[in-house]
């Protein structure tokens, strides 16, 4: 069911605090207050200071709009935008709102066009978002029409700044955000370029789902390597991630806002878990074996020490390289209690048919029906419900206490701490 279909589930009024009453707990590293997940005022301020602030928001892959006139609907934060490729090959991002009467004019999720025409009064805009034509601009029989001083150039669509990096398109409302390479920071950029080396991508398809949780939880979940070894018994059983594997939880060194969770799969198909670790892992299933092991094949195609990296790029992008299944996930915040996840799965243009099928088979790990994906969605829903309805009011993060940033241990919450240290700075908490 969708968040809006909740029957029992009113948020306690005492948690939906106005900004003036939002005080971070004194032990700020080890406690997160519930109001960051449920307060409407906090959410509104996040949209302003984070998604419309000095950030680069993922909006598309270039492979989705390869030709002049190609476009797709997308979002920056919760704001609907159109991503379009003009005749000269340049990419443009503008709000999906007619400058006249606000109609959300672009309705198709993808397409190819020569111009955008608002269906309400047929105003037309160029592929760059400039106002091109107004029916009856001079009126009829010299009556009515636009005033003489109306200049088309003053009435285009609201445009955003656009940048691309190796086939990935980002947009920003900010005039002063740093260039994308600098924005990502060196180590994140390096890992980003493993998946996005500039090699042409082939889009394999989309998933879209609502998660009835606050958008920040998705970041936290991918900065929380502790859960991966416990919640995802599938990973553990098949040795994709085992406490004790070579792994890291990296936080960017400049802000702590981006990160990646990485691990290196051992050579054996199935994991061996020693007795001491086994006791800690309730979900461990001895002797589970697949009937079709092709699913676990790992074709080494990248120059990287990691077989798995899950990258979080602030504020709205996750890059998934889980062995050979590749994808980007775009967060679309949808109020404090809901977010939409837009998944785009891809391979490379030079993949053989068998490689494409391998990626599709391994894709069963991810997405809203993925062996990992669905458990995350369930867990985050449970957390949001717990926060909304209970009377206690803080989350406790004491694993690997006092540490902020990168951790080599999976039994750590240091990366979540780094993210919230940055968040508090931006939000003024």
């Amino acid at each position: 069911m969708y968040q809006s279909q909740t029957v029992i589930g009113q948020t306690l009024r005492s948690k939906d605090l106005p900004l003036s009453e939002c005080k971070w707990p004194e032990d700020h590293l080890h406690y997160i207050p519930d109001w960051v997940y449920v307060s409407q005022e906090v959410y509104d301020r996040e949209m302003e200071l984070i998604f419309r602030g000095d950030t680069w928001n993922f909006v598309a892959l270039e492979a989705e709009i390869p030709n002049a006139g190609d476009y797709k609907r997308s979002y920056v934060g919760p704001v609907p935008v159109v991503v379009s490729r003009a005749e000269d090959g340049t990419i443009h991002v503008f709000e999906n709102r007619c400058a006249h009467r606000a109609a959300e004019f672009c309705r198709e999720s993808h397409g190819n066009t020569k111009e955008f025409v608002c269906p309400y009064h047929q105003r037309s805009y160029t592929l760059k978002g400039d106002l091109q034509g107004i029916p009856f601009k001079r009126g009829v029989n010299k009556e009515g029409g636009m005033p003489k001083d109306f200049r088309n150039e003053d009435h285009g669509l609201r445009k955003l700044h656009v940048t691309t990096l190796n086939g990935v398109v980002f947009a920003s409302y900010s005039d002063k955000v740093e260039p994308i390479e600098e924005y990502l920071t060196p180590e994140i950029l390096e890992d980003f370029k493993v998946t996005f080396s500039g090699k042409k991508l082939k889009i394999l398809g989309y998933y879209r789902n609502e998660l009835p949780c606050n958008w920040k939880m998705y970041h936290e979940n991918l900065k929380d390597p502790y859960h991966a070894t416990l919640l995802h018994s599938f990973l553990v059983v098949f040795g994709l991630l085992v406490a004790g594997n070579k792994a890291t939880m990296f936080s960017d060194k400049v802000h702590g806002r981006h990160g990646y969770m990485a691990s290196a799969k051992s050579e054996d198909k199935y994991a061996t878990v020693d007795e001491a670790n086994k006791k800690e892992m309730r979900s461990f299933h001895e002797g589970m074996r697949l009937r079709d092991e092709r699913f676990l094949d790992f074709v080494k195609e990248f120059d990287s020490p990691w077989s798995v990296t899950m990258q979080t790029i602030w504020p709205n992008l996750m890059v998934q390289r889980e062995m050979n299944t590749l994808g980007v996930r775009q967060i679309i915040p949808n109020g404090p209690h809901s977010m939409i996840m837009q998944w785009t799965m891809f391979g490379y243009e030079d993949d053989t048919e068998e490689m494409t099928r391998h990626r599709l088979r391994q894709g069963n790990l991810m997405g809203p029906s993925g062996f990992l994906g669905l458990e995350d969605n369930e867990a985050m829903k449970f957390v949001q419900e717990g926060i909304r309805r209970s009377t206690t009011d803080t989350n406790v993060l004491k694993l690997d206490a006092n540490k902020v940033g990168t951790s080599e241990s999976l039994i750590s919450e240091a990366s979540i701490r780094a993210m919230y240290t940055y968040y508090r700075q931006v939000m003024g908490f």
């Binding site: 190819n112 789902n209 599709l360």
Partner: protein, 176 residues
Amino acid sequence: MQKSTDKKYTYQPSRLDAATAQHILVEIEAFNAEYCAVLDAGQVELWPEFFTEDAIYRITSRENADLGLPVGLVYAEGRDMMHDRAVAVNRTQMFAPRYNLHIVTNTRVVDVNEQGEIQAEANFLLIETLVEGPSTTHLAGLYYDTFVRSGDKLLLKERQVIHDTNILANDLVYPV
């Protein structure tokens, strides 16, 4: 990106005479009723038995189908992969308890080829009920099927579950 020119998931008029189609229709309706009864009873480990050894099973959105994109929410090549999924769901996965109810209607028999493979379609609705939740439409779409005969029964050689539902509510745990 452009719409696909693939006609696989578009309307195809039936190429069979009414009497032949009617005869097969009854068998397919019985098959689907049994298939859904297994899923609605939560007997997911029995689900692969409705397929041939080398069957294809995929769940994907109408959007992907229209664009000719191959990805699946669930993508299985062969009954072994379906078995692995069924076991994973039933024995290893963490999710809130739920009831599923399939409603399958508008069954159509489109064609029977020279090898006796039956091409058929049906509409489905999947109603989901969570603990202390309402019963909600979780997924709505079409089955695009290829059946073969095995002895006196039908088996699925391919089932493409194409859902209109554009934003899925949280996740999809069980096969459809």
